[in-house]
């Protein structure tokens, strides 16, 4: 498999250097780590960090900046960073009012984050953690993964922290958001790890994988490929069951890496039609590559039922590499 790279063991580090070379006004790299830190810190603001394995770009470093994250940790591709990396990020993000970790529900991320929190508490830094588990493809709730919906949690928590809310308040709003956000995905083509010679699994020219995660791991079931409209129907029907769609919703259509925008907006159009037919009030559509899975082809759909506070937090200004203003 061909990749634009030099060495699969250095790809993450060289990515981070390129990111800093391109956006040095916004972010910097914490020396000797794989941690990207916001350049401008705000005294007494709650620090917000997120991260995990790489391969999901622009997540998570693309969301570091005003109104979102203070630091992001980039592990090896699809591998949770070690606890010492989480600790370094916690220390860098601490602005005097404690640090909230926004963690996707993977065993590795949770365990490494927990170890880091224990180390940070020993150093006198107050920490708290929220675990995002928006992927309804997994029916065992405890094992539900965090996928694209995580970005919306970054936004909401980031906006709240920017208002100088307390650690407890930021944590609460993040948890309220988490309980209102649900996602599900479909893959048309698997991704290939930089260190691998073949895709993580193989799909024939007539198959799709439903309920795929963001790590090339297989999904719920393999089925005959459907049209965009039918896939939208399938995903909406599952997600609608778990989100309070009597409230207005934000919709996030997320490309998995190699799905052209041409296709993503066709799917967005189908989704909006179906939701309107079902009398769901769509407050805002977000479309694009927000949380990818290397070069996987496919899409995830996220519905986020909002209340007034969540809405205003979503709308507030953010300046990061990927997320600028929603009000576009």
């Amino acid at each position: 498999m061909k990749k634009l790279m030099n060495d699969s063991t250095k790809i993450v580090s060289q990515f981070l250097d390129g990111l800093v070379a391109s956006h040095g006004n916004l972010i910097k790299r914490l020396e000797g780590t794989e941690v990207i830190v916001r350049k401008e810190m705000i005294p007494n603001k709650v620090g917000l960090i997120s991260g995990g394995g790489s391969g999901h770009e622009p997540a998570h470093a693309g969301y570091v900046g005003t109104g979102m994250l203070d630091a992001a940790i980039a592990g090896e591709v699809f591998t949770s960073p070690g606890a010492d990396q989480f600790l370094a990020a916690i220390q860098a993000a601490d602005q005097g009012s404690g640090v909230l970790l926004i963690i996707k529900n993977y065993n590795g991320d949770v365990m490494n984050a927990e170890m880091a929190m224990e180390m940070a508490e020993a150093k006198g830094i107050e920490t708290a953690m929220v675990v995002v588990n928006d992927d309804i493809a997994v029916d065992d709730v405890e094992n539900r993964r965090g996928i694209a919906g995580t970005v919306l949690i970054h936004k909401v928590a980031g906006a709240k922290a920017e208002q100088l809310a307390s650690l407890q308040e930021v944590k609460e709003v993040a948890e309220r958001a988490i309980s209102n956000v649900r996602s599900m995905s479909v893959a048309l083509q698997a991704c290939t790890l930089p260190s691998a010679s073949k895709p993580s699994f193989s799909l024939s020219d007539t198959q799709m994988e439903v309920g795929i995660g963001i790590h090339g791991e297989q999904g719920m079931s393999r089925e005959d490929v459907l049209t965009s409209y039918e896939i939208a129907e399938l995903l909406v029907s599952h997600i609608e069951k778990e989100v309070d769609v009597t409230k207005p919703v934000y919709v996030l259509v997320n490309g998995m890496g190699s799905t052209p925008l041409l296709e993503q907006y066709v799917f967005a159009n189908d989704t909006v039609s179906i939701l309107k037919k079902n009398n769901v009030h769509v407050e805002k559509m977000l479309v694009g590559d927000y949380m990818t899975s290397l070069d996987m082809a496919g899409i995830s759909l996220t519905l986020f039922a909002i209340d007034e506070e969540l809405h205003s937090l979503l709308q507030s200004k953010a300046t990061t590499i990927q997320w600028t203003e929603v009000s576009q």
Binding site: E76, S80, G82, G108, E114, A196
Partner: protein, 200 residues
């Protein structure tokens, strides 16, 4: 066990894991995300590379340093688990008395806690736990350790994976060895080799 033997143990583990890196990753590709081989090589390579800096340290301290090195360098789910295992072992080796039985038992407990996992969930605990139990029961009978580790590893083939990425596959996970159980087997196999060197 002296710190020189610990070094031998780690070097043997590394070479076993390196030899089988692709196998470990392929097992992980079947039920997880395909990085277990790379993760383990990265971690144990770092441990072996660090050894020259630990020359002054005793067995207990070396084991704890192995633990923290694995936590930093392996990452993933296996990093904190192997790391916890070694940190607990290291703590037990502060006293010579019953260090193996005590250390392995605490290690298995630590892994179960950290991973919120039980025996039979088809994870690396299914190797660590029977090894701890056999040493607890029969002392350091290395042939028994070898057998317990091997049986534990092979047993994961019949089990449905309950924790970690493989858990998402449910019944589809049955029929595959758990990658973390396989790498744990290599770890104990290397231990047995180290401890029985020159015996026969």
């Amino acid at each position: 066990m002296n710190s020189h033997q610990v070094q031998q143990w780690m070097e043997t583990t590394l070479s076993l894991i390196k030899e089988n890196e692709t196998t470990l990753s392929e097992l992980d590709q079947t039920i997880g995300d395909g990085d277990h081989g790379v993760n383990m090589v990265r971690g144990f390579q770092a441990v072996v590379d660090e050894f020259p800096n630990w020359e002054q340290e005793n067995t207990s301290a070396v084991m704890q340093k192995i633990g923290t090195t694995l936590v930093s360098k392996v990452g993933g789910a296996s990093g904190p688990l192997f790391g916890t295992g070694f940190m607990r072992l290291g703590a037990a080796f502060k006293s010579e008395e019953g260090a193996w039985a005590d250390g392995l038992t605490k290690a298995a407990e630590g892994i179960a806690q950290r991973g919120k996992v039980s025996v039979g969930d088809a994870t690396l605990l299914d190797v660590w736990d029977p090894v701890a139990k056999v040493v607890q029961a029969k002392g350091t009978d290395w042939a028994e350790v070898e057998r317990a580790a091997q049986d534990g590893m092979n047993g994961t083939k019949q089990l449905e994976t309950k924790r970690g990425r493989g858990a998402l596959l449910k019944e589809r996970s049955i029929g595959h060895l758990d990658p973390g159980a396989v790498s744990s087997y290599y770890l104990f196999h290397a231990l047995v080799q180290t401890m029985t060197k020159g015996e026969n």
